[in-house]
């Protein structure tokens, strides 16, 4: 046995001596020299390239229902407002994304529910179709490991999500129908209350005082199937009901810290702490209104005031007068757009969440094509600027990897592991 051990040790030594040590360039940090901006950017871009990047929320399926919209074509966001297509994902080094199917809340009866389901199915089919049409560059992803495997193949991973549980209607079986179609997280509610839960922003106020009884059943069913539960848009009561009920960690796919920016859509310190205690994650979103208090726009206000001062009363205008005035307003709006939040604001929220609960409970969900897009991260082609800012603030590669995908993939794995346990138990 002793000879065997000695032989193994010698073999290991031989292998080790033959293995080329990893090439590593001396960085400014290692040599003690001050790192230039160009060096920092180069270092950040190299990190951005190495880590798996994942954006957990984009409303791009809304774009996919525009007649003629082609995900394989690069669009100019300043012409069309579009923020995501496959060329821009590649340009920005965005490896994976959750495309959220969204159906606006409408009548809550059988007919309304069945229509919502049909519309959701249409958007899911459009998303799947876009992956099939672009199979050389993207792939449909269903499990956490699919993103890693697709990245290894040099492809982008597209996950399907559902924003607003309205298409579930009042039929619990629909949760499994959507799971089978590929949906891997469901945002329980959107801007107005639905049959599942109360919204944080419904002007009529709460209806269920949290999750409804049916919403509780949906949460349990999502646990059973392995669908992540998204509490963005939900009221605070819904958050607490959900986290108390769910056996798996939950996520907020596009929400920020309320202590940094006061907004009902953002999460309080207690909510962030609670989600972390339960192993979940808050995905910081690039939506100006949730990132900072909106500043004024005095130049535009002055230009519009001057234009209005010279106009006839609207009731005395001809159609041509009105058209000309609208054109003037359009020109002013384009010349003096509302200032956007910046990537620094976004990383302020990341910093805050990290300071509150550590590095393991924060991620990124840009909300592109749903209002997201800030200065420096205006569309998918610019997401590397988040990494640059993280590097500038001293985050390590390991930490950046957790922020970009490690944390949410951990939650995703736990959610799917729970579902497997339940399936195994049910089979016994």
């Amino acid at each position: 046995m002793r000879y065997q051990t000695l032989f193994a040790a010698c073999l290991a030594l031989l292998v080790a001596s033959c293995t080329e040590p990893p090439k590593k360039e001396s960085t400014a940090l290692e040599t003690g020299a001050a790192e230039t901006e160009a060096q920092l950017v180069a270092r950040a871009l190299a990190i951005h390239d190495r880590v798996l990047t994942m954006d957990t929320h984009a409303d791009t399926p809304l774009r996919m229902i525009e007649p003629g919209f082609d995900m394989s074509v690069r669009h100019d966001p300043n012409e069309s407002g579009s923020k995501v297509d496959y060329p821009r994902m590649i340009e920005g080094g965005l490896d994976s994304i959750f495309f959220a199917t969204f159906v606006a809340q409408n009548i809550r009866d059988d007919e309304g529910d069945s229509r919502a389901k049909a519309l959701a199915m249409q958007m899911i089919d459009a998303t799947i179709e876009s992956t099939l049409e672009n199979a050389d560059t993207v792939g449909l992803a269903l499990t956490p490991d699919d993103a890693i495997e697709l990245e290894r193949q040099g492809k982008r991973a597209v996950y399907i999500a559902m924003e607003n549980g309205y298409p579930i209607g009042s039929d619990l079986a629909n949760v499994e129908v959507f799971y089978d179609k590929g949906v891997r997280y469901i945002t329980l509610v959107h801007s107005t209350n639905n049959d599942l839960a109360d919204s944080s922003t419904d002007s009529k106020g709460p209806e269920h005082e949290g999750l409804s009884q049916f919403g509780e059943e949906v949460v349990k069913e999502m646990n059973r199937l392995g669908i992540m539960i998204d509490v963005s848009h939900a009221s605070d009561d819904v958050f607490y009901d959900t986290i108390a009920l769910s056996e798996a960690p939950i996520i907020a796919t596009h929400s920020n810290a309320r202590a940094v920016t006061e907004h009902k859509r953002n999460m309080s310190d207690d909510m962030i702490t609670t989600i972390a205690e339960h192993g979940g994650v808050v995905q910081v979103t690039m939506y100006s209104g949730y990132l900072r208090a909106a500043p004024g726009n005095p130049k535009r206000d002055a230009a519009i005031a001057a234009a209005r001062a010279n106009m006839k009363p609207p009731s005395e205008m001809t159609d041509d007068d009105r058209a000309a005035m609208r054109e003037t307003l359009n020109e002013i709006n384009q010349a003096f757009p509302d200032p956007l939040a910046t990537v620094q604001h976004a990383v302020d929220h990341i910093d805050y969440i990290v300071s509150l609960v550590g590095i393991d409970h924060v991620g990124i969900g840009c909300d592109f094509d749903g209002g997201g897009g800030i200065e420096g991260v205006f569309d998918a082609s610019e997401v590397m600027n988040i990494t640059i800012e993280l590097v500038r603030r001293g985050y390590t590669e390991e930490e950046i990897g957790k922020i970009w995908s490690g944390n949410v993939l951990r939650v995703f794995r736990e959610v799917q592991a729970l579902a497997e346990q339940k399936a195994t138990k049910a089979a016994i």
Partner: protein, 172 residues
């Protein structure tokens, strides 16, 4: 449920623009429904009141027209229809429907207030095509998105129209 009652019960459907000062995504919603049994084609259009005010009186916060409110001024509806006729139409089986507002309501408050318009047309013919033009507010905002849901009997479809693609025809 009868289309009229459905329209009356509709919640505010407009979404996203929670923080209108930054106004990150401009959106309107249109729902077209035709049920063979009722032989009625109904159009519901939901527009942010701020956008309507900006288009008609060039000031999002100027509510002098009082649209959808008890103090609505007499010429307000005419101004709104003049605007809509430039940027919105529906053609059923190739025939353009004259826009005549059946009912108007205001839902929500403050920046979230949305104007709901209902148009209703008797239609004995089976629907074979619906052509939609929806370019409302694209003259004001380059990134205006107009979502359209079309329900013809059990067939539901959605599409998004904007400045680049303002018109689309659905064939049944």
């Amino acid at each position: 449920m009868e289309a009229r009652k459905r329209a009356a019960l509709c919640l505010v459907l407009l979404v996203y623009c929670v923080d209108l000062q930054s106004h990150p995504l401009k959106l309107s919603l249109c729902q077209i429904e035709y049920a063979s049994a009722e032989k009625t084609l109904t159009i519901e259009l939901r527009l942010f009141l701020m956008d309507v005010n900006e288009a008609l009186v060039f000031d999002p916060d100027n509510n002098e027209l009082g649209l959808g409110q008890p103090d609505e001024v007499p010429h307000a509806e005419g101004m709104l229809l003049d605007y809509l006729n430039r940027f919105f139409y529906i053609k059923a089986n190739g025939k353009q429907l004259a826009l005549k507002i059946k009912s108007m309501s205001l839902n929500g408050q403050g920046n979230d207030a949305a104007l709901g318009l209902t148009f209703s047309y008797p239609s004995q013919e089976k629907i074979t095509s619906i052509e939609i033009k929806n370019a409302v507010f694209t003259d004001l905002f380059f990134d205006q998105s107009n979502v359209v849901y079309v329900h013809v009997d059990d067939d539901s479809r959605s599409l998004m129209l904007n400045k680049k693609t303002p018109v689309h025809k659905l064939v049944y």
